[in-house]
């Protein structure tokens, strides 16, 4: 890499694959004939592959490659069988390394992590017994495309498959460990994935399966994670708080013996069939070399060093990073950071937008109006997800008998790129004019298949899906015969509907290229500033008179960065930015319109204002709750976190003169009424405790907790706190500490599980880690047509893959309104929301039409019943003709009008009565 921000020259090395991707048709004959079998790294060595291979079944592009470390021809100049058997002459043993040079403005690194190799830890027995596997290995074992086809079997007994009866998970292997490896950090994701694997293992097992998770602290701090853990516990997953001493395969081959020290300090022994090591995340050698080549600063663990206020920026200007490369994190956070990095990387090169855009050439749509139905049916196995339950060949044969069907095909993965290419080819060759895919859900895959139809010259609406996975094989797994019958029924219904499908057309509508951001905290300001820097005008609405939100009360991040100074600077930058129009003391009153064309009424200091905008970002934050227990509000010694932060700022003497300071964690969190984790409190308490020790080294500090959740690199301050002599005591929900007044102090009594006795402390300050709670967002959610979950957090479109989108188009979310989170995560999410908003704002028009209601003027009597039921105000009376008109840009395609119309003058295109009746009829005829 050379050059600098905005003007980099990058040279890339492309390693030879010895297969011409233009010629390879992925028929697989080469791999079938290849004599060299090697361990399959993708399946964690649990299975074998050939020296010529596809890395995994959904690889893009689906083309073979030769492993040049294993190939007999490349190493010994013998064999060459693949070259002889390849029907398309794609093998090229003379392939060489290619160099490419790119000229780019910014660079994003997202090279990910490698899983910790536990073979260096000899007490865990990995590599000494095949039934001791890593979590990655177990993930492959559960996968339909994995070494055992998704069946839960013991790797040691390949010849006579045997199900395990007892599985143990060992947490923190290669994490939170500075003695046996140098990974002092917490890998953040292992607790949750272990619980998920235990739940899935139970699900995969026909017989009762015993699952036990051996852990130190259960770190499931993400949104809805604690609920998942509670459900797992109710379903019989055992959670054992312990330190594991050793894992030893028994000599008589009857299992694997595990010795551990339980909560009370006693040594226990248990026998398991299978042991899963929950290995941590670390940065691989090649990623480190890449960072070194580029001159990027790394931290002590080889993660790329980033700051809380610039979570995706590296030490080299113009180079950004996201995902685990900058520290351990889960999928939602990685996805957020990815969007965030995209926004950050394009900020300085925004004027170049669209200068190199090429548009896709869509083939001319074929006129099929005068053709009889020629329906193609594609039945998917989805690996073994469908094929493992449903008799797919039987469904295929059945589909051939259905009226209108002229072509039927069975696929392993209908969604894979090569099947899509083939589908387009088949549509043209067979002259198909309608397509039915029997596979998964239209909610996830309809768009993909429709694109294929368009590329083959068909209208995208002459397509129907039969959901034989989510609604059939997955939910009727125990009755495969009935599931097969149901699959036939679903295919029959889809075919019956598709006979009646007609092409639908869409048109373009202009987009208002500006944004509305609701909420002027750190998240809202960051989102507004990101959009403004990308060139889009922003209206920022803040309910209070001042910007800054909760961050105004905070002191420092866990990395010791000064939040006060940052927020001050951020407010100044926002106020100075000429593209941001700021309304303080303002609220949203009403929202009209839809993605690309919103008209919002805000009330600022009693005056109504109309704002036109194309997108909206909701960043309304959350608040610290006021505890109703532990004498809060009745005794002056009892504070919350924000109260304590104020004491640090205004009354340092109170800290300096205190003898005993106690923190109680999870106050009002993780209980029956509020079963979620507030995520920031463990770190905040420990950080405050360390600060107290700095000011008053003689103070005794006690932290009474349930699980310490200092995830990721926050673990380092937990270690630091223990080194400083801060004492940690664990309590359970059914045995909470008891607080009573004692003059100027409060007395806290609690049981210590290690000493096995009751402890009492007289505290000068008792700091309660009170729950963070959602604001009352009911009016706002109604106005923007978005929803909240049962805890009051605004609900994203998909918790893993669309963490900043709402299900409603053009509306996005960020910050604590989504879930409690520390400032670095709020900033990353805010940039991500802006990034997602730009995907709409950067277009000058959007497509409307398709599945919308239309009116047949001959049948409409002008009664107006439909006008009242339309929730989107899309229908109006045409006074001239005395019938109704429908605005297809406002129509969301709900069909309420069609159901209301007494004369069936209104129809919902794509879901009309004839089509529904056909589905009902075919559902009932055997």
């Amino acid at each position: 890499m050379s050059g600098s921000e905005g003007n980099f020259k990058v040279s890339l090395v492309q390693h030879p694959r010895y297969v011409d991707t233009n010629k390879c048709i992925a028929c697989g004959i080469c791999a079938e004939k290849c004599p060299k079998r090697v361990d399959d790294a993708y399946n964690e060595g649990l299975g074998k592959r050939k020296a010529i291979y596809v890395p995994y079944s959904q690889a893009v592009p689906l083309k073979y490659a030769i492993d040049d470390t294993q190939c007999i021809y490349l190493n010994k100049d013998r064999c060459g069988i693949c070259e002889n058997v390849c029907p398309s002459g794609a093998i090229n043993f003379k392939d060489t390394q290619k160099e490419r040079s790119l000229h780019v403005g910014s660079i994003i690194l997202s090279t990910g992590f490698t899983s910790f190799d536990p073979s260096k830890l000899d007490n865990l027995g990995f590599a000494r017994h095949p039934d001791i596997v890593t979590s990655m290995g177990f993930e492959r074992m559960l996968s339909a495309t994995g070494p055992f086809g998704g069946h839960l079997c013991l790797p040691s007994e390949k010849k006579h498959p045997r199900h395990p009866d007892r599985i143990a998970w060992l947490q923190c292997v290669g994490s939170r460990d500075e003695n046996r490896c140098s990974n002092g950090y917490c890998s953040s994701v292992c607790c949750m994935y272990a619980v998920k694997q235990a739940v899935m293992a139970k699900d995969h097992s026909q017989d009762p399966l015993e699952c036990a998770i051996f852990y130190m602290d259960m770190r499931t701090q993400g949104k809805d994670f604690d609920r998942y853990v509670d459900t797992a516990r109710e379903n019989g997953v055992r959670f054992i708080r312990s330190r594991v001493h050793s894992v030893v395969p028994l000599m008589d081959k009857t299992g694997i013996e595990m010795k551990y020290i339980d909560d009370s300090g006693h040594i226990q022994t248990e026998i398991f069939d299978l042991v899963v090591l929950s290995t941590g995340l670390e940065i691989g050698k090649s990623a480190v070399e890449l960072s070194n080549t580029m001159g990027i600063e790394l931290d002590q663990f080889n993660f790329i060093q980033t700051g809380s206020f610039n979570p995706v920026s590296t030490s080299v200007p113009g180079v950004y990073a996201c995902g685990v490369l900058t520290g351990p994190k889960d999928i939602p956070q990685s996805v957020m950071e990815a969007s965030s990095a995209a926004a950050a990387a394009t900020e300085n090169i925004a004027p170049a937008r669209h200068t190199k855009t090429k548009s896709i050439r869509v083939p001319q749509e074929r006129d099929t109006s005068r053709e009889f139905s020629k329906i193609g049916v594609f039945v998917c196995n989805c690996g073994t997800n469908i094929g493992g339950v449903i008799n797919v060949p039987e469904v295929v044969e059945y589909a051939r008998t259905l009226p209108g069907v002229t072509y039927v095909e069975e696929n392993l993965f209908t969604c894979s790129q090569d099947t899509q290419d083939k589908m387009a080819r088949v549509i043209k060759e067979q002259g198909l004019n309608k397509v039915v895919v029997a596979a998964c859900s239209p909610k996830t895959h309809e768009t993909l298949f429709r694109e294929t139809l368009v590329s083959a010259g068909l209208n995208k609406h002459v397509f129907e899906m039969a959901n034989i996975r989510n609604h059939d094989s997955w939910v009727h797994a125990r009755t495969p015969e009935q599931a097969t019958e149901k699959a036939k029924k679903l295919v029959r219904m889809a075919v019956a509907k598709s006979v009646l499908l007609t092409p639908l057309f869409e048109s373009r509508l202009p987009v208002t290229q500006s944004a509305l951001v609701v909420g002027g905290g750190v998240a809202g300001m960051t989102a507004a500033l990101t959009l403004a820097r990308q060139g889009f005008p922003v209206t920022l609405v803040e309910k209070n008179q001042n910007l800054g939100g909760n961050a105004r009360q905070l002191n420092k991040t866990y990395l010791n960065e000064d939040i006060g100074a940052y927020v001050k600077q951020l407010i100044h930058t926002v106020e100075k930015n000429e593209r941001i129009r700021l309304f303080a003391g303002a609220t949203v009153k009403q929202v009209d319109g839809f993605v690309g064309n919103f008209d919002t009424t805000i009330v600022a200091e009693g005056v109504e204002q109309q704002i036109s905008h194309g997108v909206a970002i909701l960043a309304v934050g959350a608040r610290e709750s006021k505890p109703e227990e532990y004498l809060y509000g009745t005794h002056d010694a009892v504070l919350t976190h924000l109260d304590l932060d104020t004491v640090f700022k205004t009354d340092e003497n109170r800290i300096k003169t205190a003898d005993n300071i106690v923190f109680i964690q999870c106050v009002g969190s993780r209980d029956k009424t509020h079963p979620y984790c507030s995520k920031v409190c463990c770190t905040h308490s420990i950080q405050s405790a360390i600060e107290i020790k700095r000011l008053n080294p003689d103070a005794n500090i006690y932290i009474i907790y349930r699980d310490i959740r200092t995830y990721g690199k926050r673990e380092l301050i937990y270690k630091q706190a223990r080194d400083l002599g801060i004492l940690f005591f664990r309590y359970d929900l059914d045995n909470k500490p008891v607080v009573s007044p004692n003059d100027g102090c409060v007395t806290i009594e609690f049981d210590d599980p290690i000493l096995n006795r009751r402890v009492s402390v007289d505290a000068d300050i008792l700091c309660l880690a009170s729950r963070i709670e959602a604001r009352d967002n009911l009016d706002l959610s109604r106005a923007f047509k978005v929803v909240s979950d049962s805890d009051g957090w605004l609900l994203e479109a998909h918790q893993k893959l669309r963490p900043v989108d709402f299900a409603t188009d053009g509306v996005f979310l960020c910050g604590m309104a989504h879930y409690p989170k520390p400032i670095d995560e709020s900033i990353a999410q805010a940039k991500a929301a802006a990034s997602r908003a730009i995907t709409t704002l950067a277009q000058d028009s959007i497509s409307v039409g398709g599945i919308v209601s239309t009116v047949n003027p001959r049948f409409c009597s002008g009664c107006g019943a439909c006008i009242n039921v339309c929730p989107y105000g899309a229908i109006a009376m045409n006074d001239e003709k005395n019938i109704v008109d429908i605005n297809s840009a406002l129509c969301k395609g709900c069909g309420a009008c069609a159901a209301t119309c007494p004369s069936e003058a209104l129809t919902l295109d794509g879901f009309n009565n004839e089509q529904l009746y056909a589905q009902i009829k075919s559902a009932m005829t055997a």
């Binding site: 909610k443 989510n470 939910v475 159901a899």
Partner: protein, 68 residues
């Protein structure tokens, strides 16, 4: 002796935005239920009129579920 067990056929009109998604999630969560439910995807439960329900019953459905 009559051995046939009554197996009801239930037509379920499912709103694309909620019930259909929930039924998808039931699959993702591997919740097991009897296969008597026959799903029909609609864009909103409001698009179901008495005509559709009557048509289902006339076609010998034993029950109709409208989820929205």
């Amino acid at each position: 002796m009559k051995t046939d067990i009554f197996e009801p056929k239930i037509i379920a009109f499912m709103c694309n935005w909620c019930t259909y998604g929930a039924a998808d999630l039931a699959g993702v969560s591997r919740l097991q239920y009897p296969p008597n439910i026959i799903p029909v995807r609609v864009m909103c439960s409001a698009s179901i009129s008495p005509h559709h329900i009557l048509r289902a019953l006339q076609s010998h459905a034993d029950g109709v579920l409208v989820g929205g």
